[in-house]
C-alpha cells in the first residue's frame, strides 16, 4: 500500500489548519462562530487572481514560472496585495455589520448575521466570476518521488513551507508580542482588558485584519494546489470549524494540529471508504470531539 494518502492528508490538513487559525482567533476574541470566514478564503483567492491579472496587464508581460513551480513572481506579489485586501474586507464587514450588532451584546445574533453575510458574499462571487473553476496557472506539474512511494509536486512543497512559516509567525505573534498579549487578554475578558489599558477596539480591528489575511493565504494555497471556485471557502468551513474546536477554541497550535488531524482523517476516508463521503469526515470528528472532549485538545473549560 502506498503512503501517498498520508502526504495528501498533510497537504489538505495544512490548508485547513491555516484557515482554522483565523476561525479560532475570531471565535475567541470576538466571541462568535464566524461563518464568513469561508468567504474570506474564496474572496482572497479571487482577489489574488484578479490582482495578478492586473499586474500582468499593467506591465504587459508574460510571466515565466519561477524555477520548478507553476506560478511566477507576479502571484507572490499579488498575494501580498490580496491579503491586505481581504484583511480590509473583513474590517469593512465588521464596520458595517458586526460592530453595530456587538453593541447589543448577543453573540448568537452575530452568528446569524455572519451566516447571512456569507450567503450574500458567496453568491456575489458566483455572480461576478460564475461557478466555473479558475486557475492561477495552466502549467502542468510533475510530481517528484520523495521516497516510500510518495510523490509531491514542487508547488505542494512550496505551499507546505509557506504554511509552516505563516503558522510559526502567528504562534510567535500570539505568544511573544504585545499585540499577542493584548489579544489573549481581550479573549479572556474584554472589560477587564479595557480596564487594564488595552484598546479593545484596536485589538478587534487587528484580529479581523490578521484573520482575513490568513484566510486569504489559505485561499491562495487552495487555489494553487487545487482550483479556485466560489464554493471553495464554503467547502472548507466545516473542516475549519472541526479543526478549531478539535484544537480548542483560541489555540493557534491547536487549530493547526486540528487541521492536520482533519486532513489526515479525510485522506484516510478517501483511501479506505471512498471519495464521495469525504465531506462527512469533518462532521464525524466534530461530533466525536463534542461528545468526548468539548473543550478540545488544548482548550480550557469555559468560565
Amino acid at each position: 500500500m502506498s503512503l501517498q494518502f498520508i502526504a495528501d492528508g498533510l497537504l489538505i490538513g495544512s490548508m485547513v489548519g491555516l484557515g482554522a487559525i483565523g476561525v479560532t482567533l475570531t471565535y475567541s476574541i470576538l466571541g462568535f462562530a464566524n461563518f464568513v470566514h469561508g468567504e474570506f478564503i474564496a474572496w482572497g483567492a479571487y482577489a489574488c487572481l484578479v490582482i495578478a491579472g492586473l499586474i500582468g496587464l499593467g506591465f504587459g508581460i508574460q510571466v515565466q514560472p519561477l524555477g520548478p513551480f507553476s506560478i511566477g513572481w507576479v502571484i507572490l506579489v499579488a498575494a501580498v496585495f490580496a491579503m491586505t485586501f481581504t484583511g480590509l474586507l473583513a474590517l469593512a464587514l465588521d464596520f458595517l455589520l458586526f460592530s453595530r450588532l456587538r453593541r447589543h451584546g448577543n453573540a448568537i445574533v452575530m452568528v446569524m448575521a455572519s451566516f447571512g453575510a456569507s450567503m450574500a458574499l458567496r453568491s456575489l462571487l458566483e455572480f461576478l466570476f460564475t461557478s466555473e473553476p479558475a486557475y492561477f496557472s495552466r502549467e502542468i506539474q510533475i510530481a517528484i518521488p520523495i521516497g516510500l512511494g510518495v510523490r509531491v509536486t514542487p508547488d505542494q512543497m512550496l505551499m507546505l513551507v509557506l504554511t509552516a512559516v505563516l503558522v510559526l509567525g502567528m504562534h510567535l505573534l500570539i505568544t511573544r508580542t504585545t499585540l499577542g498579549r493584548a489579544m489573549r487578554a481581550v479573549s479572556e475578558n474584554p472589560s477587564l482588558a479595557a480596564v487594564g489599558g488595552i484598546d479593545v477596539a484596536a485589538v478587534i480591528r487587528r484580529t479581523w485584519l490578521i484573520g482575513g489575511a490568513l484566510a486569504c493565504a489559505a485561499g491562495i494555497v487552495a487555489g494553487i494546489t487545487v482550483q479556485i471556485r466560489p464554493f471553495m471557502g464554503f467547502d472548507l468551513l466545516l473542516p475549519m470549524f472541526a479543526a478549531a474546536i478539535l484544537g480548542g477554541i483560541g489555540s493557534v497550535p491547536g487549530a493547526v494540529l486540528g487541521g492536520l488531524i482533519v486532513g489526515l482523517a479525510e485522506s484516510c476516508a478517501v483511501q479506505f471508504v471512498g471519495a464521495e463521503y469525504r465531506a462527512a469526515v469533518a462532521f464525524l470528528l466534530l461530533i466525536a470531539v463534542l461528545l468526548l472532549r468539548p473543550t478540545g485538545l488544548f482548550g480550557r473549560a469555559a468560565g
Binding site: 455589520l97 447571512g116 453575510a117 450574500a120 453568491s123 464554503f234 462527512a280
Partner: protein, 320 residues
Amino acid sequence: MLDVLGYLAFFLTTALSYALMCLGLNLQWGQTGLFNVGIAGFAAIGAYASAMLTTPPGGNHFGGFDLPILIGWIGAMLASGLAAAIIGAITLRLRADYLAITTFGIAIVIQLFALNAQSFTGGAFGIGFIPRPFANLAEHALAFELANLALVGGVTLLVFLALERLVRSPWGRVLRAIREDETAALSLGKNAKRFRLQAFVLGSAIMGLAGAIQGHFIGFIAPENYLSAITFQVWAMLIIGGSGNNRGALVGAILVWGLWSLSGAAMTTIFPPEQQVRAAALQIVAIGVLMATILLLRPRGILGEQMTVSRHLEGGTGDG
C-alpha cells in the same frame, strides 16, 4: 383570469410550505433561542422519509411501501424529530453556537448521503412518483391547485393554532424563561436541557413535515433541492417577519417568497437566458442584504415579538 388564480394558489401553497418551516424555526429560535442552520437537512429527512413510505414499490431506492400520504407525513415528523433528538442530545448541553456548527454540518452530511447512498435514496436522480394529494383532480388544473392550497393551508393553520396555544401554555413560558435567563429558570427547578431538547425536536419535526409536504406537492425530490439556500431563505423569512411571533413567521414567509418569485421573474426578463443561472445568485445577495439591514435597523422584524404570558391573561397583553 383563471390562470392568474391558479398561479396565485400555486404561489401560496409553496409560500405556506415555507411558512411551516418558519413556524418550526420560530419555536426553536424565536421562543427558545436555539440557532438551527440545518433546516435544509431536517426538511430533506422529512421529504425522503415520506417519499419512501408512500411511493409505489419498484423504485430505485429504499422503501416503496405504497402507504397513505398521511402515514408518510407522520413518518416524516418522526424521522426529522428523531434526527433532531440525536443532534440535540449531543450539542444542546454545550455552548450555544456549537449547535449552529453541528446543524450546519448535519445539513451537509444529509445532502451528501442523499446524493451518494444511491440504493437507499436514489442518488442524484432523487425519488419520483411521489403520490400527490388530489391527484384525481389533476385534469382540472385550477381545482387541483385550489384543493392543494386548502390542504396545505389547513395543515399550516393547524400547526399555527397549536403553536399559539403552546406559546401561551406553562411550557411556552418556561421556554422563554430559559431564553431570557437560564440561571433564573434553573433556580426555579426547571430542567433547561430537557425543555430545550423538546423545543428543538418539535421544531425540527415541523420542518420535516414541511419538507414532506413540498415533496408531495411537486411529486419529485432530489438532493439539490436541499442546499443551504433553503435554510437561508427560511431564516430571512423569520427575521424579516419578526422572530418570536408566529404571525410574523407567516407574514415573513409569504413576503419573502413573494419577493423571491418577483425578483426571479424580473431576472428572467432582464438577463439573457445564458446569464440566468448567474443572475439567480444576485437574488440571494439581495435577500442577504435585506436580512442584514433588518437585523441592523429593525431587529424585531416587521411584527416583532408579541408579549405573551398566558391565554388566561389575553386582555392585559400588548406588543412588547
